[in-house]
């Protein structure tokens, strides 16, 4: 017994079983809460991105997951698209709020970015993001270096042209894909 494999390793086996059971228990107990946290993370953004909306409902349209933004009565008041694309340094994760007929952007938030600190990361500042509020989606949004002259222009962050252009491009692309998807 002393030299058999079981004799050597029984403690490891018993511990594995005990820990496995404990972890399974913890996971089972906490999973709903963690899932809710993750969902809230996305849904919690909807009211700030789509005016009048309080919650949302996930759906897959045109190959991308989008959220119908719903008001208190459960009526649809707009859309929210989680969009991602390449920025200057790394992938940018954005949330784009749109009104019901996709004609105007109602809000933009940056979930994740690794742009240059002090320059590119200023795309997360509300002052810059709020420029997108109320902008028409047709024609495509364009980034300029100076104060915008027409309705579809966004003033880029000084010294971070690539980050700014990327954000506008990601927004344009996401809206176009949703429009395409709805047409089918």
């Amino acid at each position: 017994m002393k030299n058999s494999y079981i004799g050597q390793a029984w403690l490891v086996i018993v511990l594995s079983l005990v820990f496995g059971a404990a972890l399974a228990g913890v996971q089972a107990a906490l999973k709903p809460r963690i899932e809710q946290n993750k969902l809230n993370d996305t849904l919690g953004q909807i009211p700030s991105l789509v005016p009048g909306a309080t919650t949302g409902q996930a759906e897959t349209i045109g190959g991308q997951t989008v959220y119908r933004a719903l008001n208190d009565q459960g009526e649809q008041v707009g859309w929210m698209i989680p969009a991602r694309g390449l920025g200057f340094a790394d992938v940018l994760d954005l949330l784009v709020g749109l009104n019901k007929d996709l004609s105007r952007v109602t809000g933009l938030s940056v979930l994740e970015q690794k742009e240059t600190p002090g320059l590119g990361d200023r795309i997360t500042e509300p002052r810059w993001r709020d420029q997108f509020k109320g902008k028409p989606t047709i024609p495509d949004l364009v980034v300029t270096k100076t104060a915008p002259k027409s309705d579809s222009e966004i003033q880029g962050v000084t010294g971070a042209t690539i980050s700014s252009v990327s954000v506008a491009g990601i927004v344009n692309g996401a809206v176009a894909r949703l429009r395409e998807g709805l047409r089918e």
Binding site: F88, T116, P117, G118, L119, T158, G159, T161, I162
Partner: protein, 324 residues
């Protein structure tokens, strides 16, 4: 009682008695005079303010840190003054006071004293301080910090020549680049001033001519290739050489005797490396100019270069020892 010193070294015995640290540092300061004149002409009072901030902070840092190490305070050798001046000349005219002050303290403290003081540092202290300040305060030292749209000084209202080239595809005339009537870091705008000061340094042997020669050679060759394969209207090799901090870096920054290789051949290789990296950063990275990073990267390679370029002693190579 100190034991009597017996110096034993193979021939030839050469000793430049006049080549003290103090004299070298004074030479560098003297060579910076044309640069200062150009800076005063282009940036007026900004140049004075920036120089004062950096030189005072550098000397204060030197006094503080050497006192902490209980070493005799060597402010009089002037090396802190030179570090402060080079740092100031590499900053934008309107850089806030704390960028220069923090940069100077880091340059002297982390760049020099931590390694053991003058002569012991691995990296060029001024460039280390500038790199720290640039990463710490990107908004104050980045490309956009150079432009002051409503400035009464004409030069400050335009983008720097290299930023204009990179972001807008605009070329700057050769004459303004040569004389220094462009925007840029305080000391880098005038190619003429850098050449004058640099020539003085090389003639006095305070700086080794091999380093600037290497930098200019590499930049010129790569610049020619770039001009050949992807030409930009109105931008030639000469623009490449006169624009940005290339000449200032080649003559005043890369020639720091402590952090550059020992042997002449090694110095030339070092210069080539700096020039090549500058062109790499200018053409293929997000930064418009790359003298600072190039010098720091090549500083890190100096021990390797030194090992690869051991000069042959007079009388032929040392025969390799046979393995026992």
């Amino acid at each position: 009682m100190p034991s009597p010193a017996i110096h034993i070294a193979p021939a030839p015995h050469l000793f430049g008695g006049a080549l003290t640290t103090q004299r070298m540092m004074f030479d560098v300061l003297l060579a910076l005079v044309p640069v200062l004149v150009a800076a005063l002409w282009q940036f007026r009072l900004y140049a004075v303010i920036q120089l004062a901030i950096c030189m005072v902070s550098a000397v204060a840092a030197e006094a503080l840190f050497t006192a902490m190490r209980k070493k005799p305070i060597l402010v009089r050798d002037g090396s802190a003054l030179v570090t402060g001046a080079i740092l100031a000349f590499s900053l934008p005219a309107k850089a806030p006071w704390y960028a220069g002050a923090v940069g100077s303290f880091v340059a002297i403290g982390i760049g020099k004293v931590i390694f053991g003081g003058v002569g012991q540092n691995i990296f060029n202290p001024a460039m280390l301080g500038r790199a720290f300040a640039m990463i710490a305060f990107p908004a104050a030292l980045g490309a956009s910090a150079y432009v002051v749209p409503d400035s009464p000084i004409d030069g400050l209202t335009h983008a720097t020549p290299l930023t204009a080239l990179k972001m807008l595809g605009q070329s700057t005339g050769l004459l303004p680049l040569f004389l220094g009537a462009t925007n840029g870091s305080i000391g880098e705008t005038s190619a003429l001033a850098c050449l004058l000061g640099g020539a003085y340094l090389c003639l006095r042997r305070t700086a080794s001519w091999e380093i600037p020669a290497g930098v200019i050679a590499a930049t010129a060759v790569i610049g020619l290739l770039v001009q050949w394969f992807s030409p930009v209207a109105g931008w030639t090799v000469l623009h490449e050489l006169c624009g940005g901090a290339l000449l200032f870096g080649a003559f005043f920054i890369a020639t720091d005797p402590v952090s550059s290789p020992l042997a002449p051949r090694g110095k030339f290789v070092f210069g080539l490396g700096v020039g090549a990296l500058v062109m790499l950063i200018r053409k293929l990275s997000g930064y418009p100019e790359g003298v600072m990073f190039s010098v720091l990267i090549m500083n890190a390679l100096v021990p390797l270069i030194n090992r690869a370029t051991i000069p042959t002693p007079v009388g032929g190579p040392v025969p390799a020892k046979k393995a026992a």
